[in-house]
């Protein structure tokens, strides 16, 4: 598999505080990679390091096959677009002028597609209004537009839907899904609105206190969080036969319990288990959202199974 970004034992310290601690992630090319973490977990710091705003204290990262210590890293960054923390907007210039300046920074000579980019982020009517007078939502949209200048191969977006109304959130989501699908743009995105992230991401990394707790694909996460029951029985083998007979998907966890997925008819399950002389010691219903999954993960310190 090709990776657009990998980090190798990446660390970042401020004095004695370790903000990033041995970060190892691999972002597949063409994926939408969700970075999930609380405030102060290290998401923004990780993005600052990747975008060259800060240097790592130790470890390295590789962007499109080029290591951060390589002289060519700046050339590779030309194919990156970023919105880190707050949007970088010149307050005394209009949306058009802000984008035009970013085009000039990128070495682009034609400004013909700026109106189209403004339309994409619903700022086509901003006109000559100075960015300093924009609402929070407008500033955020312009920040996303700036990140998308030059059709980058990789987008790094730090909480891009902050301050947006529901309509705006939907529009940005659809835009990101669109560019990911049509242009195979890889996206690294962090968001506090986990429900929204769950509609976008194809892969996840959960981060807490500067450490990666878990990385997994959206499919794997869906398996773990879909409606299920957790069974504790006296005979796992016999129970497996029961579940196979009932056509239910299940996984035996490391603690000996059985996670059953899908819709379960509890009385049928108990009846079938009784036929095999299986005693159900515990039956717990489990219906995790991404939020609940994350909170459980953070509570357990990582590697939730």
């Amino acid at each position: 598999m090709e990776y657009v970004l990998t980090t190798e034992s990446l660390c970042k310290k401020y004095g004695k505080n370790k903000i990033l601690n041995d970060i190892n992630i691999k972002i597949p090319k063409g994926s939408i990679y969700g970075l999930v973490g609380k405030n102060g977990a290290g998401k923004t710091t990780l993005m600052r390091v990747i975008t060259g705003l800060q240097a790592p204290s130790s470890g390295t990262y590789t962007l499109s096959g080029v290591k951060n210590t390589d002289m060519k890293i700046n050339r590779v960054r030309r194919r990156m677009g970023a919105l880190v923390e707050t949007p970088g907007l010149y307050k005394n210039l209009s949306a058009y002028d802000n984008i035009k300046l970013q085009y000039i920074n990128l070495g682009l000579t034609s400004f013909d597609d700026i109106p189209e980019l403004l339309k994409l982020v619903a700022l086509e009517d901003a006109g000559k209004k100075k960015a300093g007078k924009f609402s929070l939502g407008m500033r955020q949209r312009l920040g996303v537009a700036l990140a998308m200048c030059g059709n980058p191969d990789i987008l790094v977006l730090d909480e891009p839907i902050n301050g947006l109304d529901p309509q705006g959130i939907i529009e940005i989501r659809e835009m990101l899904l669109n560019i990911n699908k049509q242009k195979s743009t890889s996206i690294l995105i962090s968001s506090h609105i986990l429900d929204e992230l769950s509609r976008l991401a194809t892969d996840y990394a959960f981060i807490d206190n500067g450490r990666i707790l878990q990385t997994l694909s959206a499919e794997a996460l869906a398996r773990k969080t879909s409606k299920a029951a957790k069974l504790v029985v006296n005979d796992n083998k016999a129970m497996s036969r029961v579940l196979d007979r009932m056509g239910l998907r299940y996984e035996v966890a490391s603690d000996g319990s059985i996670d059953v997925f899908g819709d379960i008819n509890v009385s049928s399950l108990v009846h079938e288990a009784d036929k095999e002389n299986v005693e159900i010691l515990k039956l717990l219903e489990n219906d995790e959202t991404l939020e609940a999954y994350f909170m459980n993960l953070v509570g357990k310190g990582g590697d939730q199974e």
């Binding site: 700046n74 949007p87 970088g88 010149y90 970013q102 920074n105």
Partner: protein, 279 residues
């Protein structure tokens, strides 16, 4: 780097502060001149000699340059210009040099405007009131330009280095006054051994006192060395108008020092910016 200069100029040209700062020294010079004309007319007699030294106003060029550099660098920082550029792979040295070059361009333009204003005032008024209008010598104008360019490099370094808003401006202005202060201190110690004098009221003769601040030997050599190298502003020159001239020797040293000053500030600034953590 051309792209970085272009984007900075694009912003700067659209900012009202740029134009105000550009014309301020020349405007204040003109107002000072008009005020002096008024004073002469109020003196009420022909050929009143109330000297006007336009070169005294040249110090304003340093202030305007400090404020301008602070504005362009601090807005690049606070508006996220640095973040936008660095994250797309623009080299930090280009970003830094663009800031200095635009600051230097401003210094050049504002000095040129100042010189032009001086020339116009001199042309209009100088012929009929030559005793009153004390035009600066060309050497002084060139030196002022060289020093304003050198200080623009220092101002860029200071404003890039300090993250706190307005702090960069305060330090820039203090740095300028600091250098001027050094010169004044040196001058006070380099006076004549019997400079101080008084007129004996009974005899009407001038009598001299020993200058308690007079220094000799290696201390004097060191002070001379320093005073020849700190920036000359017009007010630092002697009160005797016939001595308001810069010797060839001092002119050469001043230019060399300004160039070293400029290069040192730029190198330190670039190294500092390469390591700076952008938040």
């Amino acid at each position: 780097m051309i792209a970085q200069i272009r984007t900075l100029l694009y912003r700067v040209v659209r900012s009202k502060s740029t134009w105000i700062l550009l014309i301020a020294p020349a405007l204040i010079l003109t107002l000072g001149f008009l005020l002096r004309l008024f004073e002469i007319s109020m003196a009420g007699y022909e050929n009143a000699i109330i000297p006007f030294y336009p070169a005294e106003y040249a110090i304003l060029l340093f202030f305007a340059s400090a404020v301008f550099t602070h504005i362009i660098v601090s807005t690049e920082k606070s508006d996220g210009g640095w973040r936008n550029k660095i994250s797309i792979g623009v080299k930090r040295i280009y970003i830094y040099m663009a800031s200095w070059i635009v600051s230097a361009l401003f210094a050049l333009l504002s000095t040129s405007l100042f010189v032009l204003t001086d020339y116009i005032l001199r042309t209009i008024w100088g012929n009929s009131h030559t005793k009153n209008y004390i035009a600066p010598e060309n050497k002084f104008i060139v030196l002022t330009l060289v020093w304003v360019l050198a200080f623009s490099a220092l101002y860029t370094l200071i404003n890039v280095y300090f993250s706190m808003k307005i702090f960069g401006l305060v330090v820039s202005l203090l740095a300028f006054w600091g250098f001027i202060g050094i010169r004044s201190l040196c001058q006070a110690r380099l006076d004549e051994p019997y400079k101080k004098f008084f007129v004996n009221e009974e005899t009407g003769l001038e009598e001299y006192e020993e200058n308690p601040y007079y220094v000799t030997g290696n201390v004097r050599k060191a002070l001379v060395y320093i005073s020849e190298r700190v920036p000359i502003v017009y007010n630092d020159m002697t009160d005797d108008t016939s001595d308001r001239k810069i010797s060839k020797h001092v002119d050469k040293i001043q230019k060399e020092t300004a160039i070293v000053f400029l290069l040192t500030s730029t190198v330190i600034g670039i190294v500092s910016f390469e390591r700076k953590e952008i938040t």
